[in-house]
Amino acid sequence: MGHIDEITGLLYLEGQLEEQRAAEVARHGETCAECRQLLAALENETRALEMAMREEEEPLPASLAEPATATPVPWGWAAAGLATAGTYWFWTEWIGPWVQTFGQAGFGQMELIRLLFFNGVFWEGWREMLTLIEVLAGVLLVGGTAGLLRRMRRSAITAGMMLLLLGGLMSSPPGAEAAELRKGGGTVVVKAEETVKTDLIATGESVLVEGTVEGDLIAFARTVTVKGRVTGDILGFAERIFVRGTVGGDVRAFANSVEVDGTVGKNVMTFAEHVALGSQSLVGGSLMAGAKDGSLEGSVARDVSLFAKEFRVDGAVGGDLRFDGVGLALGPRTVVKGKAKYSGPKQPDVDGAAKLASPIQVEIEEKDRGSKFATWKFYWRQALQWGAAFLFCAAPVLMVPGFWRESVRNSGRFGPSLGIGLLALVALPILALLACITLVGVALGVGALLIYPVAAYTAQGVVGTWIGSRMLGEGNTAAALLGRLAAGLVVVQALDQVPFGPFFLLYSVAVFSWGIGALALTSFRRMQGEAPA
């Protein structure tokens, strides 16, 4: 026989050759010095490998000294109870009132979800299927499918399929109902005699509607002015927004300055530095405004909810008037047919001629944060807040313990985590708003903005678990992680109560950035497929 090749030599040494072939190789090895040398070299290599691999060069880590237990800890029930109570409290205290307020502003029940995800021009055909359960089921289905696909296929294929699916969903429904898209470096104008017979998406230095838009107007511009008629809603992002004409639906305006001096068939919701509803303004629904300062001189048929530093009302309110802020003034022409309620640090300024259905309810907020510490309610609320945060973060701990562990570990690398987190804190909202400017981006951008507070809330949990690990030592199982999360959240929340304004702000930013950074770092590494060096 000829010389032994390397694979034959290896298989021979590993005892993998057929008996007859092995005997041939053995006989050849006895007579051929060159092949004998090859076999010896391969065998030495095997020994070197075994020695290198089996050397006990590092001791077993202390965290692995004893077996992990997955048994629930004794305080588990108490924590679960508090978590449930916390969720109830969180819902009734925060979510419920907001849902109600949004409902009154025309975002009732499914309206918000519809607006955010489906009410775009490319989702027209979806309206009928919109119930909360269906939406949740859809989200779960997509999530589940993605999870399954991930297990089955490499991620690139999955990502490609999901993108294709998303692309298909985005592109298929529009058909004849597609919006008209107008982009201009200067001014985009719908002339007085012109009628746009569909939704209009307009971007430019300024957008001026003098004619008619038979549909929604979505505008991104420095100045948006509507002098003509929009039969649907207005969704505007701009420095200044003026509504002087007629709007059949809702006005949702996010701007530096918003002025309404025309007719709005439904509701007005706006977040702006300055909000003014002039004497000619007529709002058929409700008004919800978040502003630094503002005024209402016209008429609102339903409730008015104001979150402002200073606001002057000198017009008619058909429903309730609620104010949360600093200074409220009710002028002589004020008429409030429902209840009026003020919440802030000082008495509102109510003119004697103002007509209120009942005397204004005034709730003066305590300025002294320190005094809260003396009441049991404060501690109860803290406990419930802790419960809500715990429950919120327990879900990812139980569902993806490996991801959570890695994120907690990444929290230990302060520099990169904090850096990336700060970047994300600033960049993500900007990117989301930029995404909104593109057609597909409206849903995508708003979706990203929605994920943002969730991520920020989760960040608190990551930081909490890290602090807990420093207090109780590292833990690897889900139960151990939950224990550290529980302990750490107590510290995170306690520090949150330090009665010193600037500290509170810095602390919040630091915790959010730190946690988000750690989460982002973990996600990035997982996407890259490379573990930390």
């Binding site: 694979i7 070299a41 391969l42 089996r54 890695e406």
Partner: protein
């Protein structure tokens, strides 16, 4: 000239236990009877028995994970997860087989899954195992390369290898897994295991050569 090999040292035949003269045994500190007893008690829910089994094998499994995964932290996590899995699957263990072999099998599957999940792309599925060059090496050079390297240097070179190469070498030369077990864990035909191992050795030699350069 190398003198380690003598013709009588190697047995042919697939069914037989592979011979590795002088190689260290699988790391078990308990006697076979002690392990069997502990397994029986652990299956009955005896936490102390489970603790004994864990303590006897944790270091070996941790080192296995350490050889295969990139970081110490990953290895710690994997060790924890592997023992949780093993505890859950105790009922499936065939007491006629060595416990450590089963343990390594679970460990190998877990680590390989973990590497796949992390999308370590280097050579997971795309590599053509049949394309490995099978040229005759210069035995003297190979001998020199291995002889002059410390165990630490070999481990350092090992860390630079693609995942599948690391997995294959660790399963074979650390955990002493059979070719069938390696093939099953990596999703290969048994006939390719030798080729994968040889290719991994080539890559290791290259890595050692680079370190020398």
């Amino acid at each position: 000239m190398a003198s380690g090999w003598k013709s009588g040292e190697v047995r042919g035949g697939d069914a037989q236990e592979p011979g590795r003269p002088g190689g260290p045994r699988r790391p078990e500190k308990m006697s076979t009877a002690g392990i069997a007893d502990a397994i029986a008690r652990a299956r009955a829910g005896d936490a102390e028995a489970w603790g004994e089994l864990y303590r006897a094998h944790a270091a070996a499994i941790f080192r296995f994970c350490r050889r295969v995964l990139k970081t110490r932290e990953d290895a710690e996590d994997a060790t924890t997860d592997i023992f949780i899995k093993v505890k859950e699957k105790m009922g499936q263990f065939d007491a006629a087989r060595p416990f450590s072999a089963w343990l390594y099998k679970v460990a190998a599957n877990h680590c390989w899954d973990s590497l796949r999940r992390r999308k370590v792309r280097q050579d997971l599925e795309t590599e053509d195992v049949e394309s490995v060059p099978l040229e005759h090496p210069a035995p003297g050079q190979l001998e020199k390369l291995i002889r002059e390297r410390s165990a630490g240097e070999v481990r350092a070179a090992l860390e630079t290898l693609p995942s599948r190469a690391r997995m294959a070498l660790t399963m074979r030369y650390y955990a002493e897994m059979e070719y069938e077990e390696i093939a099953e864990a990596l999703g290969l035909r048994k006939g390719f295991v030798g080729v994968v191992l040889l290719r991994a050795r080539h890559q290791l030699r290259e890595a050692l050569g680079r370190r020398e350069g």
